[in-house]
């Protein structure tokens, strides 16, 4: 975290969803830390990450909620959908079952987010081409059918990971610009930041100089 990372115009809330073990936490880690996490433990409840990106010259902070894929956390996971500006729906392209469950994840996402939420489909583990279990064309067709943007990524090599997060942000930003996303509506998942005057820093009550 270096010089003045704090001047941004919006906060976008993202969620990452998908079956257990598809690599959601690794995608988040790759995006926020630019590193691959080899022995990633199962997420309990929820993980969190942020990064500030730039879209069309505007700085935007992404607050990303990485949910647990395990069924037993479904109730908690569902509660994070509301007010998400972007949803990354992840499957593992070497495990067909994770792809087959997408319709259930998508149903959740459609019913629990608002109509403007940008939903992005990610086929993870693209580095394991020889173990591919889901053809690219098939997933592409599924995405088009359901109005999703689609990319195959690798959290391990980092390929396309950046793009998935940035493309989603571009879509959201575009929606704000063309007015299809009304910032005064409820649960848009976008927090506008009126660049606050410096005086706001002096919230003396909580400062402690010891």
């Amino acid at each position: 975290m270096t010089a003045a990372p704090y001047n941004y115009s919006y906060i976008f809330k993202y969620i990452i969803i998908g079956d257990m073990g598809v690599g959601k936490s690794c995608l988040l880690h790759q995006f926020t830390e630019k590193k691959f996490m080899a022995d990633c433990p199962h997420t309990i409840g929820v993980e969190f990450g942020t990064r500030i990106i730039e879209v069309s010259g505007q700085k935007i902070k992404l607050q990303i909620w990485d949910t647990a894929g395990q069924e037993r956390f479904r109730a908690v996971t569902r509660s994070y959908y509301r007010g998400a500006a972007g949803a990354l729906m992840v499957y593992d392209m070497t495990r067909r079952s994770t792809y087959n469950h997408l319709s259930s994840w998508l149903a959740d996402a459609k019913s629990l987010t608002n109509p403007n939420t940008a939903i992005f489909l990610i086929g993870n583990k693209a580095d394991l081409e020889d173990q591919r279990d889901v053809p690219y064309e098939e997933a592409k067709a599924f995405a088009e059918e359901n109005g999703l943007t689609f990319l195959e990524c690798s959290a391990k090599t980092g390929s396309n990971v950046e793009d998935a997060f940035l493309e989603t942000a571009k879509q959201i930003y575009q929606n704000i610009q063309d007015g299809s996303l009304d910032l005064n509506a409820a649960d848009t998942g976008v927090q506008p930041k009126q660049n606050l005057p410096r005086a706001a820093e002096n919230n003396g009550k909580k400062d402690c100089n010891c």
Binding site: K13, G45, F48, W65, A186, E201, K206, C208
Partner: protein, 401 residues
């Protein structure tokens, strides 16, 4: 039928339990307002505070109630922002984001009850799980047993301060998940960046096996606790150079060279130590403070005279000070080194004292040499006698006398 006293006791117990429950119920009701308020505030001010804390480091202070509310709120299957909050300015993401980035955190509880209520301050569990970049943690007037989720803090923390909050060190250093998984201490993750630990003003009695998790700690302050015996676990602090054990109840020092490693600065003031012989092989020692103990004789300090690096020694407020010519006698223990480096009770030896020491040393040397000459002369006489009486035929004894 219970006696009035029994009744009274039971009433008190019930009262305590009710107070605990009372606090839990009260906080459960307030979780949302506490967290929403925090999130709103941190959304507005968090970035600015974090930015200014980078140029002038400072602690951000939370109460245990706030941390508890955040922890509990995350367990609830509820949306991240409160319902009528259109722009999500009170989204809990703001709070988590802040915890994620804050570098110095202070948790200040309070003993007893909250205000005039029956709510016990330190009965609330809290998790530090989302603190991913914490360098300094300060805990005061809380109960470390209530602090969980230290797994991420363990990766980044450099400085730890705990006052009035701890009975056993492992209550904080062990991760409850590791314990639940049945891990041995050797299998647990270490506090890999922790260098400075101040646990003064607690109720610590021993250095438990959690010391194995602190391989990088250089400075450890455990003053004002209840330590009688340091045990053998401090030896696991392989980077330790400064140890403050003042104001404890230590009475004996035994082979501390085996228990401490390469400590350079050792503060033992205000204990009940009588003898320093057990420090005699702690060759790394440069600074020794044993003020306010029960050291009475020159023999009790003799061992430290041979420590090759010792430069500063504080012996004030010990009965030994009543010895005639105390300073010169102690200085004399350091032999030749007394003139070079040693500073006793905050004062370098004066030339007059050094003269005394030198004269004494010369006298002693002369005496020793005289004794040695005398001893050799006797030996030769005895050998001669044996030779003459035909018991020995050594060719070396042809000398004259």
């Amino acid at each position: 039928m219970p006696t009035p006293i029994q009744q009274h006791n039971r009433k008190e117990e019930e009262g305590e339990e009710a107070a605990r429950l009372g606090s839990v119920i009260w906080v459960e009701n307030e979780i949302h307002s506490i967290v929403d308020d925090l999130s709103l505030r941190l959304g507005n001010l968090g970035d600015g505070w974090l930015e200014s804390s980078q140029t002038s480091p400072k602690y951000f202070e939370f109460t245990p109630i706030e941390l508890h509310a955040i922890t509990e709120r995350l367990r609830l299957p509820e949306p991240t922002a409160p319902v009528p909050d259109v722009n999500m300015v009170a989204d809990i993401g703001n709070t988590i984001d802040f915890l994620h980035r804050v570098r110095a955190l202070k948790i200040r509880g309070q003993k007893g009850y909250v205000g005039t209520s029956n709510i016990v301050w330190n009965s609330l569990d809290m998790s530090l799980y989302f603190c991913k970049g914490l360098k300094a943690l300060w805990i005061a007037d809380s109960d470390v047993c209530r602090i969980n989720g230290i797994k991420s803090v363990r990766e980044t923390l450099r400085r730890l301060v705990v006052h009035y909050s701890m009975k056993k060190i492992k209550d904080l250093l062990f991760d409850e998940e590791d314990l639940e998984a049945g891990l041995m201490v050797e299998e647990m993750g270490t506090w890999k960046c922790l260098e400075e630990v101040d646990l003064s003003f607690n109720e610590i009695k021993t250095f438990d096996e959690s010391m194995k998790l602190l391989p990088e700690v250089r400075i450890l302050n455990v003053s004002y606790n209840s330590i009688t015996d340091i045990g053998s676990n401090l030896a696991f602090l392989s980077s330790l150079t400064e140890l403050d054990l003042s104001n404890n109840t230590i009475t004996r020092i035994e082979s501390w060279n085996e228990k401490l490693g390469n400590v350079k600065k050792l503060i033992l003031s205000e204990n009940a130590i009588e003898d320093l012989t057990g420090l005699g092989k702690l060759y790394s020692l440069e600074y020794l403070d044993v003020k306010g103990n029960n050291i009475q004789t020159l023999e009790a300090v003799q061992g430290i005279g041979k420590l090759p690096c010792l430069e500063i020694i504080l012996l004030r407020d010990n009965p030994i000070r009543k010895l005639v010519e105390y300073r010169t006698k102690v200085l004399e223990l350091f032999g030749e080194r007394s003139s070079e480096v040693v500073k006793l009770d905050g004062r370098r030896p004066e030339p007059r004292e050094l003269d005394t020491v030198r004269v004494r040393m010369a006298l002693r040397k002369a005496k020793e040499e005289k004794e040695e000459r005398e001893r050799r002369r006797r030996e030769r006489i005895e050998e001669r006698i044996r030779y003459i009486s035909g018991e020995d035929v050594s060719p070396n004894v042809s000398g004259s006398f």
